[in-house]
């Protein structure tokens, strides 16, 4: 995930204070000793959005386009419950999937 707004989970028009708050919250959730890579990404994102001047610079001259996976990482709007067809299809898949121990096929 490259998009700093996505990493800090802040809106594009968030102000300095909001961004700082989001940064602290994220750092608490992903401290460097437990999630070093995530922490680095959070640090980088904060450095990119820290104040209006750097935000403007980032908007006009981004380092490169973000990976396509950024779009997939965006929060989705569903309620987290599958529809019945999706659930039944997954159940059916399981019946036909190779067994784990003594399954035959």
């Amino acid at each position: 995930m490259n998009d700093p707004y996505l990493i800090l989970e802040v809106a594009e028009d968030a102000d300095d204070a909001t961004i700082h708050r989001a940064y602290l919250q994220k750092v608490r959730a992903f401290p460097p000793e437990r999630a070093p890579a995530r922490f680095q990404a959070i640090r980088r994102a904060y450095e990119t959005l820290r104040d209006e001047r750097v935000r403007r610079r980032h908007r006009l001259f981004p380092e490169g386009p973000p990976p396509a996976t950024d779009l997939l990482a965006a929060p989705a709007s569903g309620n987290g419950r599958p529809d019945l067809d999706t659930l039944l299809a997954a159940l059916d898949w399981s019946l036909r999937a190779p067994g784990l121990e003594d399954g035959h096929g």
């Binding site: 707004y5 996505l6 006009l60 386009p65 973000p66 396509a68 159940l91 059916d92 121990e101």
Partner: protein
Amino acid sequence: MAKKRKAQPQRQSLPKLRERARNALHRGDHREALELYKQLFKQQPDADTRADLAVAYLNRAAELAVKGHYRDAAALWENMAGSCGEREQGVYIEWLLLGGRVERGARLLQEADATLTDSNEAARLHALLALVLLGQPAAAGEALPADSPLWEQREAMLSALQAYCAGDDDALRESLKAIPFRSAYRDLRSLLQALARRDSEPGEAREQLRRIPAHSPLAPLARSLATHDGADDTALIGLPAPLRDLLLALRGWTPARREALSRFPTGDPENAKAVLRFALGVEDVDPALLRRFCLAWLPRHPEGMASVERKIGPLSNAEREWVKAQAGEWQRDPDTLKRHWPRCAEALVKEDRPLAAALVFRHLADILDNARASHPWDSAPQQYLQRALELDPADRAGYLKLIGLARREGDSKLQQTWAERAAKQFPEDVEIRLLAADVAYRRGAFKQAAGHAASALARDSLNPAARSELLLSHVAMARQHVKQGRHDLAQRDLQALDGTLSGSEPRAILALVRSLVHLDDKQRDAAQQHLRTAIDALGEGLATRFRFLVHGKRMYISQRTLTRLYNEVSPPKQEPAPTPATLMELASLIRRFRIDGDEEILDTLDQLQKPLKDAARLDLEEDQYRTLLDALFEVEHHALLAHYGRIASRHFLGHPRFLFFEIFGRHKGDETGLNHTDHFRLKHVMDVAESQEDQQLMEWIDDFLYDGLPPFLGDVGLPTQLPSMPPMPPEVRAVLEEVMDRLGTDDPMEALQFIMEMSDEEDDDAMFPPLPFPPRGRRR
């Protein structure tokens, strides 16, 4: 794929046939193994062969089942039962149920229930039947009685599934209560419970999923859910579609967005067209994110702008120009970016975003400035920087950059304009103040320079640069007063400064200058007194004498008058011999004094030439020679440069810089007098500089040689070969042609080299040190 050729029945010896069948079985070729065992069984229908044939049937059937061909698998099992007797009935029932022959499977399961010895297998098959009936109840036909409890449990489970999907957890709990502990639906009940609590108790949910037994038909799903729950979305791309869909649905992905994932660009991640096509197909994404994403990718595929606009709405003019300008940068197309960045900036101004516009102008200025090599006289960088500062007057770096550019162009007026504006914008900024002081000083605005230096010193009282700038400005002002005959003003100004400045050196310099003011004012005693004070603080010696003479000459006091006074206060015979430190101080003074021009420095160096040449006996380190020679080269004192260059070259054989300095000094910086030996020495120096990547030395040699080479030797350096005889003075041509004749060569370079080697032999070059590099190959 081409079908395997069926094994032809051949009359083969039984042992051979058996061996082939075994081999096929071992290498996993179950199809061939089955055919061979069938042949074998026809020829030898004994119990062992029957057992082997049964294994071959079961293996082949299992192979087909893995591929999803359950009906074929079940048919093979039936063939096996006909030939070899029934065995492994459990798998048969499973294949019947999964292959759509549910009624027969259910009936057999009821009949075999008592005979299935493996309880796990029985549980698995019952669960399988229950799960199959969940979606197709009619498939059971008459196999299950209408009063079978499974029907009731099925209804409850369907309600539970619907309640879960609807997010109605109370109804889910109620429905699940109707599923008894020993129900065939118990694993599905556990799975639903785990799914329902995965948001509130993710750890417990995962644990519950893991507790679903491995023999359960739901085990693959339960394990996958537990394993992939926290995985990145992209890690799910390779999973089977039904499983991936469920996982993404659990993450809140709508069906449309899930569908987009199937079009995820898995090829070249830089393929902008594919990425944009994918992005435009993704539903249910924050519009702001999608807009950012598409804008970031559009420069790589600007042709997609219309499609993107259809999806995310129209782009602003500034955004359109931004995309085109960025595309120009991506394609390294200077014309495109020069056309679209200014348009982008002006569009931003119209959109009332002056700071963003300023940023664009600065960016453009940077790009153009970096391309200066090809457009040295392009004034666009300055113009864009000025425009940026108009839009964003608080941009400190912009002022510094603009002042730097103006300095490089030698435009002192523009330098001062922007330095003054910067100082006005950042009155508390010491660095800006010092820069403004320097710019003002170089323009001769000494009072202004002193003002800026005083402001800097007021904010940072220990700043040595501010102190030095203040002193320099006041000394310059004193000089002006003296020129106007206003000695009183000069003294007053210097005296006032004396109270402001701290440190022995600045005060000593003040004393020295005050001495000069008195001297010019014919107050000899006071002049002597101040000079004594200065010498006491600065120390007797060549460097202090140098300071005094340069300052004095800049006040138009005659050399004779200056020398007389200095000798009175510090007789030359008592003056300590120079040390390496003296020479280093002198080098530093030469550099510092150059700000007011070279004339008085050169004049004073001429005057002090004898003691300075005598000091060359000192054993200096390499870096000390270099410091001194660099300073002498900057001020172009040829005699001392040649002298110290020669001595340094002897001390450090092969040192390219020292050799260059010596030659440059000896020829007084005039290449026209260069003889061939020196030409070739310089060529070797150039080679060494090139190998050492000493760009500065290479440029010096280039500058030195540029106009001085004979026309046929090219413009830079000395080519090793001449392709043909270029135009040259007739007398040179005559000599060269004669030598070429004698040598029997058509190559003018060879002749030229011969001439030089000959001149080398009979040269008067004995005064030069031996060449520090191997001589070029000789040809006799």
